[in-house]
Symmetry: C2
Subunit: 352 residues, 2 copies
């Protein structure tokens, strides 16, 4: 993996005091659980500094103000707000997906139950808006509006993701639309919100939003390739992890929608893993037996043979180029633009 751009570590350091001050406003239970989720305390409440993720969204928000010539502080409430919305969605998604661990720590619902995860997530979402609107800046209203609309798209993506699990077929277009909601929308808002807070012209804001949308889709395409063919030593996930959960990811949806025997075989496996006579019932992934290594290797081969891997990587490169074009079409601070370009390449250019 390429080295993380300096803006990432810088973003985390810059926003943490403001993020902690915001979380301190919450009731004592939501505050405790949010502080645990962000890696500041252990489940018991002792100070710690666990991995809290790369903070890509806050880094984008800070850069987006710098890109339009404003000091990064202008974007600080926006950076805190997008990080709160991202983590609201993680806390709720972990519960919905039944994920017991995140970054090698137990998830909020696993430790404190589902009601706590619902309420702590709700509190983070409301807090994101409060942080923005408390600034009293005249640009807070359009920034808060962008964030509310983005949250709607983020939720739409999660709704689609859950719906796809119960369907035997999804089109590539539907799958891209889901990723645009679930991954693209908040990266787009993050890349634009600093410029919105700085009062930048609409065309500049739109270019930054388009950059974020396309980087988000490129990221998801690469992430989906890694979910099937990634090296466990690099990804930290089991080999073929997305196939184990039978996820209709982007390369899978591409392969499914091609003509030919490989696509038919893949569709048959997704509908009834283990082949004819298998115990699996379609639409009930939880009831199916865990497929073996050899079977997963065969299915990965079907997807690769039907062109799913090559398509996803080519599409990621195309999306990244569109993101870069978007930044070149408007006048931006050269240093911030270079950092945005480096950040885009970093999230896409992982070992595949």
């Amino acid at each position: 993996m390429s080295t993380a751009p300096a803006c990432l570590g810088h973003g985390r350091v810059t926003i943490t005091p403001a993020l902690r001050a915001a979380v301190d406003r919450l009731d004592h239970r939501s505050r405790h659980q949010a502080a645990y989720h962000f890696g500041w305390i252990t489940a018991g409440g002792a100070p710690t500094s666990a991995d809290a993720g790369k903070a890509v969204r806050p880094a984008l928000a800070l850069l987006s103000a710098e890109a339009v010539g404003a000091p990064p502080e202008v974007a600080l409430p926006g950076a805190v707000a997008v990080e709160l919305v991202h983590n609201f969605s993680l806390v709720h998604d972990d519960l919905m997906d039944g994920d017991e661990e995140r970054r090698h720590r137990r998830t909020v619902w696993k430790l404190w139950g589902s009601s706590s995860a619902i309420l702590t997530g709700d509190a983070m979402l409301a807090l994101a808006q409060e942080v923005l609107l408390d600034t009293g800046l005249p640009t807070a209203a359009p920034a808060a509006r962008l964030l509310a609309r983005t949250t709607r798209h983020l939720i739409r993506g999660q709704v689609q993701d859950l719906a796809f699990e119960q369907r035997s077929h999804v089109t590539v277009e539907e799958c891209v639309d889901m990723a645009a909601g679930k991954t693209g929308a908040l990266l787009s808002a993050s890349a634009a919100i600093g410029a919105v807070l700085a009062g930048a012209p609409e065309a500049t804001v739109d270019a930054l939003a388009l950059y974020g949308d396309q980087v988000g889709l490129a990221f998801q395409l690469v992430d989906d390739v890694l979910g099937i063919w990634g090296d466990p030593a690099v990804t930290g996930k089991p080999v073929h992890s997305d196939l184990r959960s039978r996820k209709k990811s982007l390369p899978v949806s591409y392969a499914l929608n091609q003509e030919g025997p490989l696509s038919d075989e893949l569709a048959a496996w997704l509908a009834a893993p283990g082949g004819p006579g298998g115990a699996g019932k379609p639409g009930e992934p939880g009831e199916l037996g865990e497929p073996g290594e050899a079977e997963l290797r065969r299915v990965a081969g079907l997807i690769e043979g039907a062109g799913g891997r090559d398509w996803a990587l080519a599409e990621a490169a195309r999306r990244l180029a569109l993101a870069e074009d978007a930044l070149r079409g408007v006048e931006l601070d050269a240093g911030a633009r270079d950092e945005l370009l480096a950040l885009g390449r970093f999230v896409v250019d992982r070992e595949v």
Copy 2:
């Protein structure tokens, strides 16, 4: 029960088209489930007009604009927003509380599962902010800020409510604070948001907010009395319903915190219903056997004997008087003030 003030029916009629237009923006699943929850469609999607509640909050929002001399339309986005926040909390609370029915219809989680209820609630919360901020009014930002802060208090109230279930003792002050969050905060915001959108002076907004806070507490005090001593023919709930669930409501918390044998007996019953040798384990209400009618009558008598009923009714009357004082301390449109006073008396003055 006294006749509902005209503003209630009027409020429902006024906001429904705008509320439906807002819900139409949601993804197809959240839209369907929200439309069902609001009583516009059956679970299968056929048009209907089921009971959607009294719409007290939208009525307050519309009156609050009229009270400061603005046309009620100014408050319409605020009325829609408070109704969305109220219903976000109902959809999530029904899931957390395991309630299978609301207004004689199955709840969203019961029909479509817990993930759907989480996402549909999330979508309503985000939509509330979007509706306000889409107006582009200069007063939308303070209104959205009020709504975000209110949502934080609303969530705090639900966190406390769930925490109290697991505790053997709560003070009256804690119980009032919980009700101020869970019931008072959104009624307060509803009574103020129209004035905020109309750009009214801070003192006027504060008076309306105080009126809503106090009406909310008075409402909750009466509601808690009805939950123990209410006539099932009037309340539509089983007799002693709040005792069956061993809820630490306001009259119970008052009685618990008095000195004497009645209070001790009540505390013992809450800790181990059925008396010494009973099968119940404290802190695990779900595991306890259902107490019989005679036992519930006895416990209601303990609370009444310790002064819980009289205190709650006197406190409700005191709160209502404070609400009315708040409205008399500022200059308001006389007709709208009279309607606010009538609405306050209506929500408090039920058959007790």
